[in-house]
């Protein structure tokens, strides 16, 4: 019986099946993806052998001290030491192009099997270590610079020696795009090729006691830790890479769930309303209410399970491919049981909802007597006057407006469904736009400066600091400049986790000044005195502080008070950042190595000359245009988002196209008989088409208008929930308008194609029904 039901209303069931399939597929993809990304990363770094600290130090004395400490085995343990080089280097490819990367860390190893961190050879021969004259590079670098095994590179700091790339690797230290240093591996014998001044030791170890104690020990005794990385930063960088995609997927999943359920229920309701007559017939034939219910329940159960299962089945490879792509620099993560669990939950969830709804709707229909049901043609309730806006007319457009009010339920459905899909796609199109223009707003996204030049250096002494300040003051090409320390001022000034609660990670940054250098401020003002700070919005939220409040930091173990004078947005370090002035460093007698100089030139044309002069004047400095590596950093973090967003948008578009087709076919089915009558009365097909088309045009434009309204109203706040740099949320009214116009036209074209049936409607067939 239920099989026959499906066969006789093929179209209705097919439609709901397709909607269910796409919705469950999208939802399941996003759920599986998010679940697996986070667990893959934590599982990966959960390896107990992984060192907690990775550092490069160029002082033999300090390295020996650290080794002695490791031998004592109290403070630190699982110590490993390698000869290594760390510096900004000019590395040239065969075609003469330089890498123009930030600093490079080149580590010599004997046996990759014995490393405490994870290294996997992806391409090239699996050997214990690179041979003499060979170098191993990471897949990240290979992808970015289009390098292949057997390519040859030349390193200036190694007396321009050539190295042959013999393997491309994944490396737990270097798995994140957000990691500034590019790590490479060479043979131990080749270390001697490198300049004395860039050579040093690379050590890794685990905490043997409290992290705090280790930190204090390191800060008190070591001044030459040029490269410093912690395991939790690696994890955090990895999460930052994937975080944006996860956020988008979460949003997509949520919106699909909401819109999917609404659309499925609407379609279901429409389908069931059409069944009133059949139900009346069943009743007249003596079927009990429960028996009728079983027919429909079984039919929908069958269709629901088949379609959600197909949707979920499609989501498995989709999530797998997405996950593999996003984590390609980390390792290989295969299918696992969570796929089946999430997929199963989604199938059950969807079908339970459908069954409940079918039962509910059928109960309403069941109350109608057989006669009422059979006689009910266009579901007109007795005595209920229909409101007509335009009286005394047969103008097709006026009548189309009457039709809208006369078919309120259908009209409402069309508006709501259009509004839902339009809103969702508008949100994603604008999200896409936001990422597309993000590279112009790296300063806002990542709490950075925005100037014509950025200099990477290590200001290792007060003399050097004075010399640079002097140089920049006297160079009349320079308009403004500032210098300071990004990311790791936190090694000297500590966030008080006892007072404000533990954070996964945070960054405290210090700069000589913030004004005129393109630093973004959200509310309040930039810090001007040693005891003034800006705090990122996310950190304000976490700590429950606001502008005007005092915030405590630990310096040399003592509580020091700072005044919050402004806030800013940032996604760097999970959006937890603090800005303070170099004056504070001086005030508290801290002596960090400043590593970044932001220079605003009077004219961009001065850049090349300025770079040449500066690099010549100060050794071991790298001048880059605009934001230099930071530009690339943001680009690396955001580059994965647009493809994902586009894919989701396409899915959404398929869904909305399907819905337009449904709506048109519903209208056409409802109207068939009436169209025939009007044709017999001498109304032309064109007249009738205009009437239907203008109805669809009015309804879809209303839906689009509602979508635009909702979009303007909540999209920004919705994205703000997940992206903690509000000023970087930039939408494109132009793209939105073009898109709306496009969709409107496409809908009309679809509708036009749908109404082409009108001309073919045979008056006679209909009259004889």
């Amino acid at each position: 019986m239920w099989k026959k039901k499906i066969r006789t209303s093929k179209l209705s069931f097919l439609l709901i099946a397709v909607i269910l399939m796409v919705t469950s597929g999208l939802l399941s993809t996003s759920r599986i993806f998010i679940d697996n990304i986070n667990s893959s990363i934590t599982d990966y770094y959960g390896n107990p052998a992984f060192p907690d600290v990775y550092l490069f130090n160029s002082s033999d004395y300090e390295l020996n001290m650290l080794e002695d400490q490791a031998d004592k085995g109290q403070l630190i343990k699982d110590f490993q030491k390698y000869k290594a080089m760390y510096s900004s280097m000019n590395i040239t490819q065969e075609n003469g192009e330089t890498f123009n990367e930030d600093r490079n860390l080149i580590i010599s190893i004997k046996d990759q099997e014995k490393l405490n961190w994870e290294l996997t050879i992806l391409e090239g021969k699996d050997k214990p270590s690179p041979e003499v004259g060979e170098i191993w590079i990471s897949k990240i670098l290979a992808d970015k610079k289009d390098l292949k095994v057997n390519d040859v590179i030349k390193i200036d700091k190694a007396a321009r020696s050539q190295f042959k790339i013999s393997a491309i690797i994944n490396d737990s230290q270097n798995a994140s795009l957000a990691n500034p240093a590019k790590i490479m591996y060479v043979n131990e014998e080749d270390v001697m090729l490198f300049d004395q001044e860039v050579r040093g030791g690379y050590v890794v170890f685990q905490y043997g006691s409290e992290k705090e104690a280790v930190m204090n020990y390191l800060h008190e005794n070591f001044t030459s830790n040029e490269y410093y990385m912690e395991k939790n930063y690696l994890v955090m960088n990895q999460l930052a890479d994937t975080g944006l995609v996860s956020v988008i997927m979460t949003l997509a999943g949520l919106l699909t769930l909401i819109s999917g359920i609404i659309v499925v229920l609407f379609t279901l309701k429409n389908n069931l309303m059409k069944e009133v007559k059949s139900i009346g017939t069943y009743k007249a034939l003596g079927f009990k209410g429960s028996e009728i219910k079983k027919i429909y329940s079984k039919a929908y159960l069958f269709v629901g399970i088949i379609s959600t299962t197909i949707g979920v089945a499609i989501s498995f490879p989709a999530a797998y491919i997405l996950q593999k792509e996003i984590l390609k620099y980390l390792g290989n993560f295969g299918y696992n049981s969570s796929y089946l669990i999430i997929g199963g939950v989604i199938i059950v969830l969807f079908n339970v909802i459908i069954q409940l709804f079918v039962a509910l709707e059928l109960r309403k229909i069941n109350k109608i007597s057989p006669v009422e049901a059979i006689l009910q043609t266009n579901a007109l309730k007795n005595g209920k006057r229909k409101w007509t806006l335009y009286k005394n007319t047969n103008n097709p457009i006026a009548l189309s407006i009457n039709d809208i009010f006369k078919n309120k339920r259908l009209s409402l459905n069309v508006c709501i469904i259009t509004a839902i899909y339009m809103f969702t796609t508008l949100l994603f199109i604008n999200t896409d736009h936001m990422f597309a223009v993000s590279k112009d707003h790296a300063n806002i996204w990542l709490n950075l400066h925005k100037t014509t030049a950025t200099i990477n250096t290590n200001i290792t002494s007060p003399e050097m600091e004075d010399a640079i300040v002097d140089y920049l003051n006297n160079d009349n090409r320079v308009d403004q400049y500032g210098y300071g320390l990004y990311l790791n001022a936190g090694n000297y000034i500590k966030y008080d986790s006892e007072k404000y609660g533990v954070l996964d990670g945070y960054a405290i940054e210090s700069f000589s000044r913030y004004d005129h250098l393109g630093f973004e401020i959200y509310e309040g003002r930039l810090p001007e005195k040693y005891n003034e700070i800006n705090v990122s919005l996310n950190m304000l939220r976490d700590t429950n502080l606001k502008i005007g409040d005092k915030m405590n930091f630990k310096i040399y173990g003592k509580d020091e008070e700072f005044l919050i004078v402004g806030s800013f947005g940032s996604i760097k370090y999970a959006g937890r950042n603090v800005r303070l002035l170099n004056e504070a460093m001086e005030h508290y007698n801290l002596k960090p190595y400043y590593n970044t100089i932001a220079v605003q030139l009077k004219n961009q044309e001065f850049y090349s000359e300025f770079k040449k002069d500066f690099e010549h004047h100060f050794k071991d400095t790298l001048v880059q245009a605009n934001l230099g590596n930071y530009d690339e950093l943001l680009n690396d973090m955001t580059s994965m988002v647009p493809p994902v967003v586009s894919t989701i948008t396409i899915f959404m578009l398929i869904l909305s196209a399907l819905n337009i087709i449904t709506i048109i076919s519903i209208i056409m089915m409802d109207e068939r008989r009436n169209l025939g009558i009007q044709k017999a009365l001498g109304f032309t097909s064109n007249y009738l088409k205009v009437r239907i088309l203008s109805r669809i045009a009015i309804l879809t434009s209303t839906g689009i208008a509602i979508a635009i309204f909702i979009h303007n109203w909540i999209s920004k706040s919705l994205i703000e929930l997940v992206i903690t740099s509000p000023n970087a949320i930039i939408f494109s009214p132009l793209k939105s308008s073009i898109y709306c116009a496009l969709i409107f036209s496409v809908m009309l074209v679809f509708a036009f194609l749908g109404t082409s049936k009108v001309a073919r409607i045979n008056v006679i067939e209909l009259m004889e029904e």
Partner: protein, 252 residues
Amino acid sequence: MDRVIIKTSDLGKSFCMGKEKIDVINNMNLEIYEGDFTIIMGSSGAGKSTLLYALSTMDQYSQGKVELLGKDITSFNENQIANIRKNDMAFIFQGINLLPDMTLFENVAFNGYSATKSKKSVNEKARLLLKDLGLEKDIYKYPSEVSGGQKQRTAIARALINEPKIIFADEPTGALNSSMGRVVLDILTQLNNEGQSIVMVTHDLKAATRGNRILYLKDGRIDGELNLDKLGEESLKEREGIVYKFLNDKNW
């Protein structure tokens, strides 16, 4: 001689049932005259409806031609056909064919609005027609709220709103009970007496009696014709006898 308003030449219509071709109308040459109440009779499946549809632009035919009011409709395009349907003729179907989301009044008036007529005059006329047909009290009801006879009377009012030159009716009483059917037939008879040309298909003897020219359709041809005077004061019983005899001869 009365004026010819419909003329067919070698009219033919066939349907394809799978591979088989069924000729429903064969080389028919027929004239229908102005002012007549023409009845097309025949047994069920004889092709009465098929013929009427062909004469009235409602369906296409396979061969020959039909001249309706002096115009050859064979080569007419959609707009020309719509124009004829709207201005020159009206068709009353057996089934209920009112627009369900309009009141009886709207159903009638809606068909009358045009660029050349004032809305007020159309509305007045619609009200008058409905009143004449005894629907005064029901004009603001919806089709689902009235009986079959009232619906069919509304359909007649709708047919009259544009003052058609011909009214076609395909078993207009087929779906009605006999007393309601009689009311509808009375209305048609009276219209004819006022000069309205009517072509009506029926297989009901009593209904056929109303016409003044009865064509008997069999095997796709006109198999006989009975001409009577216009229905006057004479008793219907007597007239029924004549028609019955005519049909009996045809093995009806």
